[in-house]
């Protein structure tokens, strides 16, 4: 049986472009931890409202701060919050989803009801409610978004586990006497990896959007704590006439971050690179 070559398959553009965009942004963020063209918070009245180009790649804002370094820093904050939130959501979600999906029974029904109830509400609304109770700020936002992502992850993982549980290879493993824990994580997990990764990518997508929205609404990362893209957008809105590039660069940064993750999830979800395309049905009439 000749080994199936993957080369002549149409390359998975979504995944490639998604990785390219995301890695550029991540690279920029990692660099920003050590070095930024200018100190993001250094104000210099002389250089107020400079247009992009020259020393300041993206120009300066109304306080003379360099926008490019602020965007680098802001993207870092947004991404780090998103990362922690997704980490919480994915880990708890996978465990809860796995257990309920694999073992089923009353617990499965009960948790499924809660998942449906929570996911029926837009996450932003829930986040706003909790923020009223707990107050805003970076750590609060991380925990709020983290907890809010658990149900959506749990639902995806539960669905996949329940589906794989019916497969014969899982029954076979039970017959051999393989312990449930091993079946779940050694047998089933690798088979649902593509779907899981796609859910993580969607998680990032939503997390970045949620963080940016909350900061824009003024309930996210507070101004003193750290630079946030959402906050930059909010502050720069008033200075449209003088320095529109301030809002544009912040907004584009958010969009590019989201686009990167959206492309990755699109690429992973439908047709991961390493799985050859299923036989195309020869049905449609030309």
């Amino acid at each position: 049986m000749k080994k199936l070559k993957n080369s002549h398959r149409a390359p998975n553009y979504n995944l490639i472009w998604g990785c390219v965009i995301t890695s550029i942004m991540v690279l920029m963020i990692v660099v920003s931890f050590f070095w930024t063209p200018f100190n993001p918070d250094a104000m210099s009245y002389a250089e107020k409202d400079l247009a992009p180009g020259g020393a300041h790649l993206l120009g300066t804002d109304n306080f003379g701060r360099d926008i490019f370094s602020r965007v680098m820093e802001g993207a870092g904050t947004t991404l780090s919050i998103a990362f922690c939130a997704v980490a919480i959501g994915a880990s708890f979600g996978t465990v809860i989803g796995g257990l309920t999906g694999y073992f089923g029974g009353a617990w499965d029904e009960f948790i499924m009801r809660i998942n449906d109830a929570v996911t029926a509400f837009p996450s932003i609304l829930l986040a706003l409610v909790i923020v009223t109770i707990t107050g805003s700020g970076r750590t609060n936002i991380i925990f709020i978004l983290g907890i809010l992502f658990i149900p959506s992850f749990a639902r995806v993982v539960r669905g996949e586990f329940a589906k794989q549980r019916q497969m014969d290879y899982v029954k076979n493993a039970k017959l051999m006497g393989v312990k449930p824990g091993r079946i779940m994580f050694v047998h089933i997990l690798p088979n649902i990896a593509p779907v899981l990764l796609s859910a993580v990518a969607i998680g990032f997508n939503n997390a970045v959007l949620a963080e940016a929205s909350m900061s824009y609404l003024g309930v996210g990362v507070s101004q003193t704590e750290a630079v946030s893209l959402g906050r930059m957008l909010l502050d720069s809105q008033a200075y449209w006439m003088t320095s529109p590039w301030q809002a544009l660069s912040a907004g584009c940064a958010i969009s590019i971050l989201i686009l990167g993750f959206a492309l990755i999830s699109e690429g992973l979800g439908t047709r991961p690179m390493w799985r050859p395309t299923t036989k195309r049905r020869r049905k449609q009439h030309a």
Partner: protein, 313 residues
């Protein structure tokens, strides 16, 4: 018939559960409203008196039923910061947010259906690929950024509308709707992009089903197959998503009202969150919760008429 009764039963039950949840959520909030109302000269006696006056010292259950009773009768209690009844505060704002949401939802339908079908018809062609890339980009741009772009391009430069002054419905009907067009569009665009992707994907998936092959074998043309068979089958997952989309639009309108400073419910929600004006927040959240449940309930019921298989479960 029993099926519908069961559904109504669950509907009422869910509302009841949500009302308890919302009420409890706002009881566990640290800090007591009275301290803020009394401000600096808050002496223990004054606080106790005010608590008694507001009835905060009664057991939780009593307060809950009292609140629920008032809520159903339309009296949502006193706003802390504006110290006037909440329902007066809300009256005009509810209509603004509702019209913004419905206009936006209408736009989503008008944009996504024609385009979705067109892309399914020309699936895997260059046109399809280009549009899907565009679609992906539009989907990734957050609605508030689109809002800002619209205010900048259409407001300040092209002067289609003056960004900051909102036109009241009372004094100019046409102006009211004209002003809402761009905010609604900036909410609708990313949502429409998602619906297009789902509708196209669902139709392309249905096109590979066996019954499509049978339809071709009877002599149907490509359009006849799309219109007669695939459309309806593809609609089943789309309806679920439309219900979710409508709910997301409500959330989206809260943000967009900040961008276009529309004095709707969303804006009031934000100001009362920042001002920790709890009765107002509690009421708005409760109203949104009711709308969300009703929308999901209607979607649940509509499945029966779209997919007969569900009817007989």
């Amino acid at each position: 018939m029993r099926y519908i009764l069961k559904k109504i039963g669950i509907f009422v039950l869910t509302i009841f559960a949500i009302s308890i949840l919302v009420f409890l959520a706002f009881q566990i909030i640290p800090g007591d409203p009275t301290t803020r109302m009394l401000g600096t000269q808050a002496t223990p006696e004054k606080i106790a008196a005010l608590r008694a006056q507001l009835g905060l010292d009664r057991p939780v259950l009593v307060r809950y039923f009292d609140w629920l009773g008032n809520f159903l009768r339309g009296n949502y209690g006193e706003s802390y910061s504006y110290n006037m009844p909440v329902h007066e505060l809300l009256s005009g704002k509810l209509r603004i947010t509702a019209s913004l949401t419905l206009l936006s939802f209408l736009m989503v339908l008008l944009i996504s259906f024609p385009l979705g079908i067109l892309l399914a018809r020309f699936a895997h062609s260059w046109f399809d690929r280009v549009m899907m890339v565009l679609n992906q980009i539009v989907m990734s741009i957050p609605s508030f950024f689109t809002g800002i772009l619209f205010t900048y391009v259409f407001g300040l430069i092209l002067k289609f509308f003056t960004p900051t002054n909102f036109v009241e419905y009372a004094d100019d009907h046409a102006g009211f709707w004209a002003y809402l067009v761009f905010p609604a569009l900036s909410i609708a665009l990313p949502k429409a992009a998602m619906v297009i992707k789902l509708l196209r994907g669902s139709m392309v998936r249905e096109l590979s089903e066996d019954y499509v092959r049978t339809a071709y074998s009877r002599g149907n043309s490509r359009w006849q197959v799309l219109k007669g068979h695939v459309m309806r089958n593809a609609m089943v997952p789309v309806v679920t998503f439309l219900a979710v989309t409508l709910v997301d639009i409500i959330a989206g309108s809260i943000i967009i009202e900040q961008v276009f400073n529309i004095p709707g419910m969303g804006r009031l929600l934000m100001t009362s969150i920042n001002g920790r004006d709890l009765p107002v927040v509690q009421t708005i959240i409760m109203i949104i919760a009711l709308v969300v449940i009703t929308v999901n309930y209607i979607a649940d019921i509509s499945y029966k008429y779209i997919d007969p298989r569900i009817r007989f479960r």
